[in-house]
Amino acid sequence: MNDLTSNLSYESHSIAHSGDRLGVLEKTALAFVASGLLLLAASLFGVSSKMPEATRALWLAVAWASIAGGGLTFGLHKHLTDKPGIRNNRKTTDSLTARGAWGWSLAILLTSFYIVLYWFPGLLDGLIRLHDPLSQALRGKAADQWFVYGTFYTFAILVMGAKAIAKYRHSRYQILRTSVIMITQLGFAYLLPAVFAKLNQPEVYLSYLWPLAYDKLFPGTLDQFLQAGNIGFFIVGWFVIGTLIATPVLTYFYGKRWYCSWVCGCGGLANTAGDSFRQNSDKSLKAWKIERWTIHSVLALIVILTTLLWFEPVMPDVLKGPVYLLRQWYGFLIGAAFAGVIGVGFYPLMGTRVWCRFGCPMAAILGLLQRFNSRFRITTNGAQCISCGNCSKYCEMGIDVRHYAQRGQNIIRASCVGCGLCAAVCPRGVLSLENGPKDDRYNHEKGLSLLGDLKSL
């Protein structure tokens, strides 16, 4: 190769891969993000409740403005300078997106952040105090670790959501879906709970229903809400109707996507901040088998726990001990370790939906409904599939979409969150997310939904 190179009248390395070099603007934007993060990190050492509020407010504002401004500039510039359309080039070769050194570093960083957040929040004291001014303004009280986490989370979804919209701007489905996710996160999972707090009401995230927000149908939680007056009644009604009526009805008509890809914050983070890692989900049959065991076990656990809590007043002597233990362990293992640490920390390694796929009990319920009582399916368009594998590769839930598409079968899988990316990356127009009559969801012969009729021609 050296011989060949020296033969040419130019330097070879300056030609190849010229596309993936960062420009000056992108580098500057990343520098702003980095300095913003450093400013936040610096607060860990220098900020306390003794520092004047105005100083902290300025510090905080500069840090977040720098992160958001830099992030937006980078994300929008990256995608808007390219033509609209699917661009997944270099996903399998870049260190960050292909589990290289950058990918591993990010995974370790994220995982460490979650471990500190859940079990060593004392280490974050400076950062929490830095967020006091914002918390006072929004909630009328001092910040805690969860407010800080919510702020990080919301910024991530908003900034990276804007990037995702730019990236998928050729698709109205993706623009609409991402916008709704961003608005839901900002409104229902950040500002509205803050307003509740300011009104001295329970600070609840309305976008999380039981069993994802697992204590929402616990008798104790409901009692607490009901004692809070009118807003409390509204909140109880919201959770009861949301869980028992809205969930099965909406899932019947639209599949689980109405929640997992349009409302839920976990899905929201996955589809915005995590979008570059969706291809790292495991597509093997083995992973599917594990997934079915784990996710339904978590569902069983939370159903048992909720039931026991309702029975506890009946036989307090027998149940009190075990229920307390179960509740504690569920919170530790599932609520914190699984949903948080592994769920987000492992984005760069196992794809963005580790929690949604292997653990989330809400996804489990929605999945069962979708699988057995829904009008939703992904239709395979006749025999146009060329087995290229893009659909499977970019499925964040690890569904081997191609397995069905190349056989002309429709895809009806409990885990499908209906993000629509399989259809978007398909180069032959083979896949489409559709709602239709339940009886003709499966077509095993050729994906021709009215094959019987056609045969008679």
Partner: protein, 461 residues
């Protein structure tokens, strides 16, 4: 009939489909032979490996344990000779394999029309895994590449090269891109898309020869008009030809491809052929003698399997269809759309104001029955078009129900009203009114098929 040894030469889509469908039917020993790769992969996805969208592993439609699980033996090696007398394959290196039945699924190779310099280093087509390896080998030392021959592969190669920052000059013989296949408006639309992506597209321009540097690598091409274009790689993308050499040497009757009857038997007993390498002696209506697309390979494989296992199944592939993607514009075709309409056909063409979305309909002048459609930048439903074309449904009904064919994602702009208005302006004698829109999928499809009988009688009025 069990315990035969069925050997399949070629692990492309035809070969592995045959293997799978034989296994579904019987217990015979099956061996799939390939020199190209150890496992079956999707060659349509080679471009995505190069661009970094997929890894090689991702392009395998079946996981590696699928083969032992289904007792399909794999043999990785190049066959040197087919000995039809002793019913065995002789491999390079002296190995051999006996067969009771042999299926030839040897695929095709890029056309080379005897250009001087066509075998230099850095000159290649894109069909096999080895072609991809060569591309990887020479791309890092390539600033400009020349693609000769306008067609689907040429556009894919252009996209691949641009993704690595390599400049592309594209030589196309016709006045409009792929105009031998695509009608004018369609061809112009594709041409615009190629230009939009920064390709140096040269129409009515042909390769004359490739010039060599001192080390035997391409350094420039010369066009028929005498222009010399410096480049480090040359891609020959003017179609592919069936791989017939092994079959021919073994005395199997060949023309352009390996000749097969309607059950995919060759002239030699116990030897079958299908896929890109095969040529039909009897050509089904609306089809061509050599069909080199993915899904025909699949159908061939299924038919060979059935016939080999004693079910007589003659080749009836049905309505022609195909699809492709030209950079960001998807293309689908159903039925027959020749570059020029026949005298008995009417032609209707609509495109949006930006010239990136279009539909072309062909229908019979007399009866109004639709015969074919091309769509660009729109996704259409295979099942619906198959029904319309096979049923000779009149264009009036087709346009009235055009929403039933819409396969675009939800919330996408629906162009049916615009298309219909343009049609009415041009063909007032075929009055159509829009009665189906996408969005009520269940109802409109149900209605469409439920009322079929009555609607057909009303047509053409």
């Amino acid at each position: 009939m069990s315990n035969r040894h069925i050997v399949i030469l070629g692990n492309g889509i035809t070969g592995v489909t045959a293997a799978r469908y034989i296994r579904k039917r019987c217990d015979d020993r099956i061996t799939v032979v390939s020199g190209e790769s150890e496992h079956h992969f999707s060659r349509t996805a080679l471009m995505y490996i190069f661009m970094g969208d997929l890894t090689y592993q991702d392009t395998k439609p079946y996981s590696d344990d699928f083969w032992p699980k289904n007792r399909i033996e794999l043999k990785h090696g190049w066959v040197e000779q087919i000995d039809t007398g002793n019913q065995r394959l002789n491999f390079q290196g002296g190995d051999f394999l006996s067969y009771d039945e042999l299926i030839l699924a040897t695929g095709a190779r890029p056309n080379k029309f005897g250009w001087p310099g066509q075998d230099l280093e850095g000159v290649q087509g894109l069909y096999s895994y080895q072609d991809l390896e060569n591309m990887e080998k020479y791309a890092p030392t390539t600033r400009r590449a020349v693609i000769a021959g306008g067609g689907l592969i040429g556009v894919e190669v252009a996209e691949m090269l641009l993704s690595r920052g390599i400049e592309v000059t594209f030589l196309v013989r016709e006045k409009l891109f792929w105009n031998s296949v695509l009608p004018g408006g369609d061809a112009a639309l594709v041409g615009r898309e190629i230009l939009r992506h920064g390709v140096d597209l040269r129409m009515e321009s042909e390769l004359k020869e490739v010039l060599s540097d001192s080390k035997g690598r391409a350094r420039a091409v010369v066009t028929k008009s005498g222009e010399e274009i410096p480049c480090e790689m040359v891609f020959l993308t003017a179609g592919v030809s069936p791989n017939v050499a092994l079959a021919k040497d073994a005395g199997v009757a060949c023309d352009r491809g390996i000749l097969v009857d309607s059950c995919f038997r060759t002239s030699t007993p116990h030897v079958w052929a299908g896929g890109d390498c095969a040529q039909h002696r009897e050509v089904p209506p609306g089809r061509r003698p050599v069909e080199q697309v993915w899904y025909t390979g699949k159908i061939h494989g299924e038919h060979i399997a059935a016939n080999l296992c004693g079910e007589e199944r003659t080749y009836k592939p049905g309505i022609w269809f195909n699809s492709a993607k030209f950079f960001d514009i998807e293309y689908q075709t159903y039925g027959v759309v020749l570059s020029q309409p026949t005298p008995a056909e009417e032609d209707f063409f609509w495109e949006d104001k930006d010239g990136r979305i279009s539909i072309r309909l062909r229908f019979e002048k007399e009866s109004g029955a639709v015969t074919g459609v091309n769509v660009f930048g729109l996704r259409h439903r295979h099942v619906v078009w198959e029904h319309w074309i096979a049923g000779k449904i009149p264009v009036t009904d087709v346009l009235s129900d055009l929403g039933a064919a819409n396969f675009d994602p939800e919330f996408y702009h629906q162009y049916e009203p615009d298309i219909l208005a343009a049609f009415q302006a041009e063909f007032p004698q075929f009055p159509a009114r829009l009665r189906t829109r996408k969005g009520l999928f269940s109802d409109f499809i149900k209605n469409l098929f439920a009322h079929r009988g009555t609607e057909v009688t009303e047509v053409g009025a």
